[in-house]
Each structure stands twice: as structure tokens, then as C-alpha cells.
């Protein structure tokens, strides 16, 4: 920011912003802390914040009980696979809509978004029957297909708003200079489109990673991702806060870390054409 700011003002901003930041982040922090407590300490009264006997026992238990790495790998394959497949289908569509808009482009887009309003619980039984008959139950392929389809509208829409921001004049200038369509795409458009594609990809990996309805209901053992892993730790008989926290931490850590590292990228692309 160009304005000169007094250090006092900056300190005040910092204090307020950090307070809110920590408040919003606190539930996650608390979960991570709890995952290192014993079950008894997890429900201790008054609660203990930092000064307890740190233990990794919960993680050992969770790793012994569940095949975490298989769930993790399934999550990776399903979320990345569905996102990549979605991008392959969506990029041409968004491209065409942005650069060759027709009368109905807006209607088509809105219709695409409206397919996301189909409540999944209402169509589970039909889909389950179809999947049973074509042998897709409990397969990663099946989940990739479903997640691609449910996230496709969002992917198309994000890409579309992003592509629309690319100035058409540059294209025309390139064309004047005699660039072929291929060169036009490779050297002019792609570099400008990459940030948008990247952030679309990130957002959709997050959405797919966290999708808990289809992933739980269409899998059994082989293709079950981390959402199913969590379902085996929520409210069993007996005390479970600490183990639940450990499992939760393990389920969200990969995506959280990915999100943090790619945060800048995500912010850059999440404009939805909002910047004007």
C-alpha cells in the first residue's frame, strides 16, 4: 500500500488482525493439541492448554487400527484424478464460452450450475444401482467419475470467468502478426491462463478431498478415502476425543499443507472475474 502509515496504526492493525486470525484458527489448533493428549486429559476439567504430557500414543493407535496410507492414497487419486479429468473436459468449454460467446452462453452456464443443486441424498439409490450393474462400486474409477461430474460446473464457471479477463486485443494483435492458432494458444493465451487454471485446480482438489457423501456411500474397503477413515473414529463406545483429534489431524493435514503452500496461487486465481 502506497500510503505512509504510522507504526502505532500498524501495530494496532497487527493486533486486531492476529486476534481474529487466531480466533478463527483456534478450533484447528485445539484439535491438533488434543491429538497429543491422553483421553483423560482431553476431557480434563479445567482444560489443559499446553502443559500436559505430550504423547503420540493416539497416532500410534490410529496407524495400527487403520490403513491410513491406503485411505490417504485413495484420497489423492480421487481428488487429483477428478480434478484433472474435470479440467480436460472443462477447459475447451470455458474457452469457447469466453472467446466465442453466443446468445445462450449465459443460460448454459447457469444451467450447468443448477445441476449442482441436485440433492445427492435423493439420487443415491439410483446411482448405487447403476454403479452396481456396471461394477463401479468401491472403485476409484467410479468415484473419479462422480466427483468429476459434481464439480464440473464449478470448474467450467471458474475457468470461464478467468478466461474472460484475458484481453481479446492481445489475441487480435497476435493474429495480425500472423501467429497461427497453435502459436496463439501456446505463446499468448496459455501463459495468461495458467494462474486461473492452477487456482481452479487447487479449489477443486480441496472440494473433492472434502466430499463426504458420495465417497462414503459408494465405497467399501478398496477405494475408501479419508472421509471413510474419519467415519470409523466418530463416536465409538468409550472416550474418543483424543483419538478422534489424531484421526482428524491426519485427515486434514495433507490438504491443509497443500493449501498453505499454494495459498498465493489460490488467492490469485479465485477472482471469478471479480477484479474489474
Amino acid at each position: 500500500m502506497a500510503r505512509a502509515i504510522t507504526p502505532q496504526r500498524k501495530a494496532l492493525n497487527t493486533a486486531i488482525a492476529w486476534t481474529f486470525g487466531i480466533m478463527i484458527f483456534f478450533p484447528i489448533l485445539w484439535t491438533v493439541l488434543t491429538s497429543f493428549k491422553t483421553e483423560a486429559q482431553a476431557i480434563a476439567d479445567p482444560p489443559v492448554f499446553l502443559f500436559f504430557n505430550w504423547t503420540t500414543e493416539n497416532y500410534t493407535t490410529v496407524l495400527e487400527r487403520s490403513n491410513y496410507f491406503r485411505h490417504f492414497w485413495n484420497s489423492v487419486v480421487i481428488s487429483v484424478g477428478s480434478t484433472v479429468l474435470g479440467l480436460i473436459i472443462a477447459v475447451p468449454a470455458a474457452w469457447a464460452m469466453a472467446f466465442v460467446p453466443g446468445k445462450r452462453t449465459k443460460d448454459v452456464l447457469m444451467w450447468m450450475l443448477s445441476t449442482k443443486m441436485l440433492p445427492p441424498v435423493g439420487v443415491l439409490v439410483p446411482i448405487y444401482l447403476i454403479f452396481r450393474d456396471i461394477g463401479l462400486l468401491d472403485t476409484k474409477t467410479g468415484l473419479v467419475i462422480v466427483l468429476t461430474l459434481i464439480n464440473l460446473p464449478i470448474i467450467v464457471w471458474m475457468l470461464y470467468t478467468y478466461f474472460k479477463e484475458i484481453p481479446v486485443d492481445i489475441l487480435e494483435a497476435a493474429r495480425m502478426d500472423g501467429a497461427s492458432l497453435r502459436n496463439e494458444v501456446t505463446y499468448v493465451l496459455l501463459p495468461m491462463a495458467v494462474p486461473g487454471i492452477a487456482s481452479t485446480m487447487l479449489l477443486n482438489i480441496i472440494l473433492a478431498w472434502n466430499e463426504a457423501f458420495w465417497t462414503l456411500n459408494l465405497t467399501a474397503a478398496k477405494a475408501a478415502p479419508l472421509t471413510a477413515f474419519i467415519a470409523s473414529y466418530s463416536s465409538p463406545e468409550g472416550l474418543f476425543y483424543a483419538k478422534l483429534s489424531a484421526a482428524s489431524t491426519m485427515a486434514i493435514a495433507p490438504i491443509l499443507i497443500m493449501g498453505w503452500f499454494s495459498q498465493k496461487q489460490l488467492v490469485r486465481g479465485l477472482t471469478f472475474g471479480a477484479v474489474k
Binding site: M1, A17, F25, D45, P119, A212, T271
Partner: protein, 290 residues
């Protein structure tokens, strides 16, 4: 510049998406429509006779139905208000000069990466539980009686949890929009004696309007089908106090395994969602100039 040729190419490029989505919409929708006219309970196999509108009249006359409509709207509107207002304020805050801006931004967006099931479990057990939750300990520390969130204010509690999950999304998008605001114009306005409120009202807000539209649109799509948070925390209760339409359809089709009535409920939910969508488009669509 669009030639006949490029139009044809464009159509070709769009068609895979359209065909796939059309299939994804029509096949389940067709089956759902078909099932909705049958007496079809998974637990009672046998002939599934055609029963006409019976499933619809049964679903619509369910005493929980009206409550579910109201709760669905309250949930969507409540979360939208909290996330848009909160997101705007946070975006303005994060746009100020400060130390450690990057870290604060990370802290604020973190909840978006948490699975809905996990966040509901964490909030329910570790925060809102009236005996062992942190809020109860806090209340005790202040000498107040603990507040029983899911009994006294079930829907509000769920709105709170869902808002926590979606606040980062709103903040992110609004922050991106904020950063493109011309700070020199703001300064000029300040020189001219415009107070912070009027600067916000006449300059910042109009600039954000498009981003706010995007937030509302995307979130509404997801909020209409909030489900995991309700299942984990209140199971739609007490009574019907936190039953939304999605949850009611779930209760019919996966708790009672009444696929017929569940499908009828699904069709009703789709129709209502599309009415909301049309309203939404009318109200804010022009803001998008897509």
C-alpha cells in the same frame, strides 16, 4: 470476430461438458422421477406398484416439511449474512498494513480446508458440549451457567459451524477484490474529507458488489444441500428444529429406506432449489454480466 467456423468449433468444444452434465442430470433425475411414482421400500422387496402421486402427497403433508423449508431458508440466509458481512470486514482488515500479513491470511483461510464432518465433530464435542466443551468451561470460568447449544439453539449452532467453514471462502474472494481497489482514489476521497464510513459505503462496497455476488451464488449452491453438519450434530432435532430439506430427504430415503417417498422429496427439493436459483439470478444476475 466470431465466424461461422469458430462458432462450430466452439460448439464442439462445449459439447463434452454439456453432454456429460446432461447425462448426469437426466439419468438420475429420470430414475428419481420414475421411483417417485412407485411404492418402493428397500426393506420390503417385491412388486413395486405404481401409486401415482401418493408419495408426493405423503411427503408434502409430512408435518416436518414446512419446518424443513423454513429451516433451509434460515440456514442459507443466516450463513450468507454472517459470511458476507464477516468476510467483508475481514477482507478490509487483512488489506491493511500489518506485520505477518501472510500468516494471518493463512490462519483465516484454514477452516476452508477442513472436512465438514470433521469440523462438525470438533465443534460439537470439543466446543459446544455443555459439560466438556470449551465454551462450557469458559462460561463456568465467568460464573455463568453453561449454554446448551444443540438443545437451546440448534439451528443457530449449525449456522455458526457452517459459517466458520465458509467465512474463509468469502474472505478470500473479497480480499482479492479489495486488493484491486484503487487506493489513490480512496486517499483522494479522504483528502476531500470523506469519513471512513462514507468511503466504505460509496467506494468500497460498490467495488465489492461483484465479488459479493459471486460469494452469494457459489455459497447458495453448497448451502442448500448442507447435510453432514446436521447429521453429525443434531440429527435434525430436537423435534424438527434443525431439519432442512436435504436432511428430510435423507430421513426418508436412507433412514426409512423408502425410496419412493425419498425420490418424491428429491424432486420437490430440486424444484425448490431451482426456484431459489431463478430468484437469485434475477436479483443478482445482472451484476455478473456473464
Amino acid at each position: 470476430m466470431a465466424t461461422q467456423h469458430s462458432r462450430a468449433a466452439a460448439r464442439l468444444m462445449i459439447s463434452p461438458s454439456v453432454i456429460l452434465l446432461l447425462g448426469w442430470m437426466l439419468i438420475p433425475l429420470g430414475l428419481t422421477l420414475y421411483f417417485s411414482f412407485l411404492r418402493y421400500n428397500l426393506l420390503m422387496p417385491g412388486a413395486n406398484p405404481f401409486v401415482g402421486w401418493e408419495n408426493y402427497s405423503y411427503f408434502l403433508s409430512d408435518p416436518a416439511f414446512k419446518a424443513a423449508i423454513v429451516n433451509t431458508l434460515l440456514l442459507v440466509v443466516g450463513v450468507l449474512v454472517i459470511t458476507v458481512v464477516g468476510g467483508t470486514l475481514l477482507a478490509i482488515l487483512l488489506d491493511q498494513a500489518m506485520w505477518g500479513q501472510g500468516i494471518v491470511r493463512i490462519l483465516v483461510i484454514a477452516p476452508f480446508f477442513v472436512m465438514p464432518t470433521v469440523s462438525a465433530l470438533v465443534w460439537k464435542n470439543m466446543f459446544m458440549n455443555p459439560v466438556n466443551g470449551l465454551f462450557a468451561h469458559l462460561a463456568k470460568f465467568l460464573g455463568l451457567p453453561p449454554f446448551d447449544f444443540f438443545a437451546a439453539a440448534p439451528l443457530a449452532s449449525i449456522i455458526g459451524i457452517v459459517s466458520w467453514q465458509w467465512l474463509p471462502f468469502a474472505t478470500l474472494i473479497l480480499l482479492t477484490a479489495m486488493q484491486s481497489l484503487d487506493s489513490e482514489r480512496l486517499e483522494a476521497a479522504e483528502m476531500d474529507g470523506a469519513g471512513p464510513l462514507s468511503r466504505f459505503w460509496y467506494m468500497v462496497l460498490p467495488h465489492l458488489s461483484r465479488a459479493i455476488t459471486v460469494v452469494i451464488l457459489i455459497q447458495t449452491i453448497f448451502l442448500l444441500s448442507v447435510f453432514a453438519e446436521i447429521l453429525v450434530t443434531t440429527n435434525g432435532g430436537p423435534g424438527n428444529a434443525s431439519t432442512n430439506l436435504t436432511y428430510l430427504v435423507y430421513a426418508e430415503s436412507l433412514l426409512r429406506f423408502d425410496v419412493g417417498t425419498g425420490s418424491a422429496g428429491g424432486v420437490v427439493a430440486i424444484i425448490l432449489a431451482n426456484i431459489v436459483a431463478i430468484f437469485l439470478m434475477r436479483m443478482i444476475g445482472k451484476n455478473l454480466d456473464a
